[in-house]
Amino acid sequence: MNDIVPITPWGLAAGYLLLLLPLAILLHQRVPILRQSALAVVRMTVQLLFVGLYLQVVFRWNNPWLNLAWLLVMISVADGSIVRGCKLRARRFAAPVALALLAGTAIPVLVFIGPILHRPNWLDAQYVIPIGGMILGNCLRADIIGLRTFYESIAKGEKAYSQSLAQGARLHEAIRPYFRDALEAALLPTVASMATIGLVALPGMMTGTILAGAPPFTAVKYQIAIMIAIFSGTSVTVFLAIWLTARGSFNAHGILDRTIFRK
């Protein structure tokens, strides 16, 4: 197998020419997302170039502490975007959600790099950053779905919820059906993608591994490992995000405190 072929600046420029096709279609059909699309392309380019530059440094130094710091920065960015995405108050949710993200990312990453890949250095940039990033991205999406489903369904179904309290349910019994629904909603996308993987499209990590020059069977094993890591990471993070935040989100009488939502 060949090693990966680098893309020259001219080669990348040729890639940008492909943008003429969507540009022509958007203009021809007057689809009103021209500005938005242009901005997105610019943002993508700038963000990725910055990340690339930064990662070059991180990879060159390959200092475990720096790698860990990078992961923690990614976790806090994800944390902020979950709390904002769920319209929840940062002061009460940022810390427990960060803890949930940390656990949901760290546990599968450590298993991946340790028992699965047998890397001597568990914080090796080449592994911890891409694998951690993939798991964290999925944790982010799952936490948004899980937390939103949980708190919004209790707020909307307040009548049925308070009925269960009136019937003698303790807090953990009253929230159980909402907790279950939230976990289901958050984990279903991962379950569905595991079920159809390989049939519809070649998954991301497998594609990357093949492009990097690995034999397809190695790529497949990587893909299986990452899917399991994502599934376990998302279930841990959603469970913890709800469990850790629920304690502070209900009053002593078991009623949902509506001040948790940002107006």
Binding site: G157, K159, S162, L165, A166, Q167, P177, G254, I255
Partner: protein
């Protein structure tokens, strides 16, 4: 908990939503076995009274005692074991009638009552509900059927105190009669209800009219 404590003792209750008082200076004592109906125009806080007794609304002023225990964040979980509640247009959660009736028995507080589930059929017959309705989804039931399913659910929970919020509003006269007869015959049962029905008031020992001007109805009488 002395036997002489009233079933419900409400003292100087004040509840405000968004800075506006919906109820203020309200006091009421309901003896054990007594059937009391609250009435009055909408928005005077009748439902709020029931919800304060259940600890679903935390009052800004005053206090509620149930069988001698002050309802607060610590006691409310025990207090609710003595109460059963039918909300206005009850929502018992998703599932079939059987599932929603059986659900409360999965809570630890009701574990000792599990044998009562066997009496579903008996109460269905009493409240004139067809047995095949048990396996229908709650979403497909009419308002009157939902109310009677909610009433069956509270009767099976075997609580000493019932809090009923317009629990007969969707019932036809014959069913209303059946339900009030069943409640009247339970002599030890304390019932605090909210209702506009004249037939329903016939069930009660006392009817209390709540007025929008937040006075204390008992002092008025």
């Amino acid at each position: 908990m002395s036997e002489n404590n009233p079933a419900i003792d409400i003292e100087n209750l004040g509840v405000a939503y968004d800075g506006r008082w919906v109820l203020r200076g309200f006091s009421l004592r309901v003896a054990r076995g007594e059937k009391v109906t609250l009435t009055g125009p909408s928005g005077v806080g009748k439902s709020t009274v029931l919800r304060c007794v259940l600890g679903l609304v935390v009052p800004q002023e005053g206090e509620v005692r149930v069988l001698g225990r002050t309802v607060d964040g610590r006691s409310v979980w025990e207090v609710r074991k003595d109460l059963a509640y039918v909300a206005q247009e009850p929502d018992l959660g998703p599932g079939t009638a059987r599932e929603v009736i059986e659900r409360p028995f999965s809570y630890r507080a009701n574990a000792h009552l599990r044998a009562n589930i066997e009496r579903i059929g008996e109460w269905f017959e009493r409240f004139r509900l067809p047995p095949d309705l048990l396996d229908k989804d709650m979403g497909t039931l009419s308002g009157g059927e939902k109310q009677r399913v909610a009433l069956v659910s509270v009767m099976l929970l075997d609580r000493p105190i019932l809090l009923l919020d317009e629990a007969s509003s969707a019932l036809d006269p014959a069913n209303k009669q059946t339900v009030t007869d069943a409640l009247r015959s339970a002599r030890d049962l304390t019932v605090l209800s909210v209702s506009h029905d004249v037939e329903w008031r016939a069930l009660s020992n006392r009817t209390i009219e709540l007025a929008p001007t937040a006075r204390t109805p008992e002092n008025e009488a």
